[in-house]
Symmetry: C2
Subunit: 353 residues, 2 copies
């Protein structure tokens, strides 16, 4: 067998018209039960499956959504993608994934790629150095269903799925304070990024609440990946006295810092207690295990996908002709969890030892 059966083949075999076959297959009301039976039987025998491409051409939908992530090496976004797949696959949607590599121009290209492919909607977590606001605006203006997740732009009126970065950064910092830390450094991410800004805010609020001075020299702005942690830790080491706590914007940054500090004889948590953000599999593997904020990655994916699906379907819904009604614009904030581990447990608070 080389060619896949079409409705024509079925029609031909039964000497009926393709429309009848189509109706029978679609299980419509107005087709003779006998005809339907015959059609179904031939269809089965010929192993007929409808051609998705022709369906898409007709329906003027591609049944494809695009997802832009900064990267997917670090499992965080990979887990989110799995959540998205769980929503889209059963509905017959395909997912196209592109990585921005934290770069605005690549992100822009990805978005263009999706536009050219006529995806039915886009999910995006924005790149670190991105200011593609104008592009997001254009997409929205052109009625492209669009949902941001995790890394969201401040000033765009679109659906977003986030965790309360500020709150959880606050709690993580407060936890360090509760462990006796008084001079807590912060490795902040890139300044423009929502998560960086919010987490920095949370850190500062916690210090203030507990009457600790906010020392700008303790805030080191680097990036989000492990190398940034190394670099930050180098600067940390030169400080005198050494800070007694560190809250890092992400786990990789925290882990990079730990690595460097340990190599230079600094003990964790005895000399400096460390907390990160965003649970990664690494967090339990490093030594000591890393205190961190665990995010519901899978749920983030599911939620973002569901929001997008709502937008896509309501767009084809006759009631919803007014694209600027904006009823679909929602921001969903998901819960997270502070996972306390040894890296932040100061010795006088420790259990057995």
């Amino acid at each position: 067998m080389t060619k896949r059966a079409t409705i024509k083949d079925i029609a031909h075999e039964l000497n009926i018209s393709t429309s009848t076959v189509s109706r029978a297959l679609a299980d419509q009301w107005d087709v003779n039960p006998d005809t339907r039976r015959a059609v179904l039987e031939v269809a089965k025998r010929l192993n007929y499956r409808s051609n998705p491409i022709s369906l898409r051409l007709r329906s003027r939908q591609t049944w494809t959504v695009g997802v832009v992530v900064p990267e997917f090496i670090n499992s965080y976004f990979a887990e989110i993608l799995i959540g998205m797949q769980r929503v889209f696959f059963p509905k017959g949607y395909n997912i196209l994934v592109a990585q921005s590599n934290e770069t605005a121009s690549v992100e822009e290209n990805n978005l263009k790629l999706f536009e050219n492919n006529m995806v039915d909607g886009i999910l995006i977590s924005v790149a670190q150095d991105s200011d593609n606001t104008a592009i997001y605006d254009r997409l929205l203006k052109n009625d492209m269903p669009l949902v941001f997740f995790n890394r969201v732009p401040e000033d765009i009126r679109a659906s977003k799925v986030i965790v309360d970065d500020r709150k959880w950064a606050f709690l993580a910092t407060e936890h360090l304070i509760s462990q006796g830390c008084r001079r807590i450094a912060h490795f902040a991410g890139n300044g423009n990024l929502s998560v960086s800004v919010e987490r920095r805010h949370g850190y500062i609020s916690a210090l203030k609440k507990h009457g600790l001075p906010v020392d700008e020299s303790l805030i080191i702005e680097a990036g989000l990946q492990m190398e940034s942690g190394y670099i930050g830790a180098m600067k940390l080491l030169q400080m005198d006295p050494l800070p007694d706590g560190l809250f890092a914007v992400t786990d990789p940054v925290a882990i990079g810092a730990m690595k460097f500090l340990k190599n230079h004889g600094i003990r964790i948590p005895e000399d400096i207690a460390v907390a990160g953000f965003t649970e990664s599999p690494y967090a339990t593997i490093v030594e000591p295990p890393l205190t961190t904020v665990r995010q519901p990655t899978f749920d983030i994916g599911v939620t973002a996908a569901t929001l997008l699906l709502d937008q896509i379907t309501s767009r084809h819904d006759p009631d919803k002709s007014d694209s600027w009604s904006g009823d679909n614009v929602r921001t969903v904030t998901l819960e997270a969890h502070l996972e306390v581990r040894e890296s932040s447990l100061c010795k006088n608070f420790r259990g057995g030892s």
Copy 2:
């Protein structure tokens, strides 16, 4: 703007036929330069981009390939995927990714999904407990371009991209021997999987070559992930005397074992030297850093993608009508590298300390 421009719009605006527009856009030989210029100009003004769906319908290609991976949380397959993207995206192909979760039935569903979507080709790394040989056979018989990578079935005549698992397992084991290990345990993966079988062979060959006894009780068959390492390590601990070396089928297994052993006061590498397989970011993060075989993940992706692309294009090539000519069936073996780190360096061989 709500609707995207079509060639009809351009044709209408210029009072010419759609065929002329099509030709002008396709940059064909037989169109008046003036006409072409006019068409191009209007196309630009209208921001015309061809409709990929209609192109696919006509060309009877979906310009989409499917990739089945066991998982993509562990960055190994994520890196391979990036390599594949690098090949396919510039050629205008989209990639659909599905995870089998190491399960044969899920893998089967993924494959069916791809078939129904009429992908132009499939790349697959088979699931741990998979015996979907019959399905692979059917796909091949139906002329579906198909390339296996990393985890390949033994008895299928299809293109494959691998590393020489046996050789590198041999070298890793030999390295442990060179470090003075004499009783080396092996955590083997699942019995059916090519990588497991090959790596076990390599391990055994190394022992034999160096005159060490092959003790079946030292070969513990578990899985490929971290939990398997835990479980294996439990069994290890009960052995008396404790083995002095461990070669694990994958890094996660090695890392799981290290974690357990360290928790139970076993020193690495002093008490037991450890080597893994397949470089993962974890390997440098654990303590001590893990000796492992580094695979060229990106290249695996690129190579597999290129092989598949060859098959796809040669299929549409008139010279190549005979599908069973099999000239396209190739097995590419890529080089790897033994990354020696502290986890396997026995104390008498160590440098500074």
